[in-house]
């Protein structure tokens, strides 16, 4: 029996997470704004609704696993982990500063971070390894992995797509933060991925396509993915790069640029409405 998500509550959390992401990026003076904001609902739906985890025992054996393959989006993950109390919220302002546990890309060691990532294309393979080990141990854990759409240019992703399908890893749930941009521009112009849904289907994955900012759809997709047996599931989440702040949305110059103090204030005003 699945519990019902409290959508209003999740939406409130998502808004708070966005504020924290922008604050930490502005404080750091650098970092990946657009791709952090685009996956907020995907993370909130996962951590505050679906994922079995215990911030007091981050390595407890019965937990589910989350791998952030698009490591550059880590400000969003850090903010979520801090809200979950994996570590103190004050630590968020140390992002990217010397001596911090909040490295520019995720580093294992910070409570809640399951794998160091940042060099694109490796996370799904790591997730598969976890999933294969869980199967060997007859462990019911589920393994989630968020990839970027630009990241799908990496050949290793498709090697891992083959592996998960070959081993019928129904404990793996891939999530694509399909925000339609990569650092050089629109994904369709840099290297066209379409037809994306058909590609994953042809590789023997179950494909769910959702609005990645609609928490009702996000949580429903996580529930649905759990019921699919005999093959892995991928959720293609249509998202907006820079989502939530009008002057950041679909503005690719904020791929790897942090908001200024002035922009931060404007953004917070807008988010808090």
């Amino acid at each position: 029996m699945t519990k019902k998500p409290d959508i209003k509550d999740l939406e409130r959390i998502a808004r708070d997470i966005r504020v924290d992401i922008l604050k930490m990026l502005a404080c750091a003076g650098s970092g990946h704004t657009g791709g952090s904001l685009s996956m907020v609902e995907l993370l909130v739906g996962l951590y505050f609704y679906k994922l079995r985890c215990d911030p007091d025992r981050p390595l407890c054996e019965t937990r589910d696993i989350f791998i952030l393959s698009k490591g550059h989006g880590c400000p969003a993950l850090y903010a979520v982990l801090a809200h979950m109390n994996f570590f103190k919220k004050e630590e968020l302002c140390t992002l990217r500063k010397a001596g911090t546990r909040l490295q520019g890309h995720p580093q294992k060691g910070l409570p809640g971070i399951e794998a160091s990532t940042g060099s694109l294309g490796q996370g799904l393979s790591v997730a598969n390894g976890h999933a294969l080990a869980a199967r060997l141990d007859k462990d019911k854990k589920r393994v989630y992995c968020i990839m970027g759409d630009g990241e799908l240019d990496e050949g290793q992703i498709w090697e891992a797509v083959l592996t998960a399908a070959h081993y019928k890893l129904d404990n793996v749930c891939g999530i694509i933060d399909n925000n339609k941009f990569q650092i050089d521009g629109r994904t369709e112009e840099i290297k066209n991925l379409e037809p994306l849904k058909e590609k994953w289907k042809a590789f023997n994955w179950e494909v769910l396509e959702i609005d990645g900012h609609d928490l009702k759809e996000v949580t429903a997709a996580y529930d649905k993915a759990e019921t699919i047996k005999g093959k892995p599931t991928v959720i293609i989440a249509h998202t907006v790069k820079g989502k939530g702040v009008s002057f950041l949305e679909n503005q690719n110059k904020y791929h790897g640029v942090a908001p200024t103090q002035e922009e931060l204030e404007r953004a917070i005003k807008e988010l808090k409405g």
Binding site: S119, Q122, V126, L132, A133
Partner: protein, 314 residues
Amino acid sequence: MEKKPTRDGFGEGVVELGAKRQDIVVLSADLTDSTRAGWFKKKFPERFFSMGVSEQDMISTAAGFALAGKRPFACTFGVFAAGRAWDQIRVSVAYMNLNVVIIGTHGGISVGPDGPTHQAIEEITLMRALPNMTVLVPCDAIEAKKATIASASHNGPVYIRLGRSGAPVITKPDDSFTMGRANVLKQGKDVAIIACGCEVYEALLAHDILKKEGIESRIVNLHTIKPIDEELIIKAARDTGAIVTAEEHTVMGGMGSAVSEVLSREYPVPVEFIGVKDRFGESGDPAELFKIFELTADDIVKAAKRVIERKKKE
């Protein structure tokens, strides 16, 4: 003398481990019989994972296994492990200091007829550049078995370089093998020859030739390139004042470079390098290639004489 490829030692070792420990898993990138991962597959099919010709995927998947508490061995040819999957080894394995053992077979030009694309001559350089990585180059099948077994209890990633061709069995099952501790096989005061892999046998042959000419050479089997046995290397330099390094690998950044890094900092003495000189391998019979690439005992003898001459001049 009995000859046996070092990859066979891995095969025996990993089967022995598999029988004792349930956490041992083996991943293979389609060269299952060649790497001897197939020996494990035959005994423990449920713990063997075929990854297809996807070395990068194999390495990161092995990382996932390690994160889940398993002890994965990821097996392929050295060129495809250390070369093609270098970034995966760097980020997914070494950066997280995971217990992944990477088995790189077909190291060196002794691969023979398959030629340069399949002859790995750069793995020592590539692997020792990575923080947390341990690099082992066993000299024979017995040592390879010991290295395999030891690596499964080591904390952190290990790269084991193995060969394709039959290598003379020069160590004994009860000889000591400790990671990071080199073994002195022959004592000598005139020159020290520090070798790894199949060059250890060539060094032993060189020792006998030199002995006939009245030159006493110390032979060191440097099976662990990283962490390097600084103490033993410094002592060899102090005692002999002349060093020859011998490896079936490029001299650029390899074992000889690792030895020289220690010596130039701690106890500078003349060094001569036996190894592949900034070129690719080529097809051919391994014995013939050893002559072409100047990796034979005779080449080591010449290098020893050169370095002794240099010592005298200084």
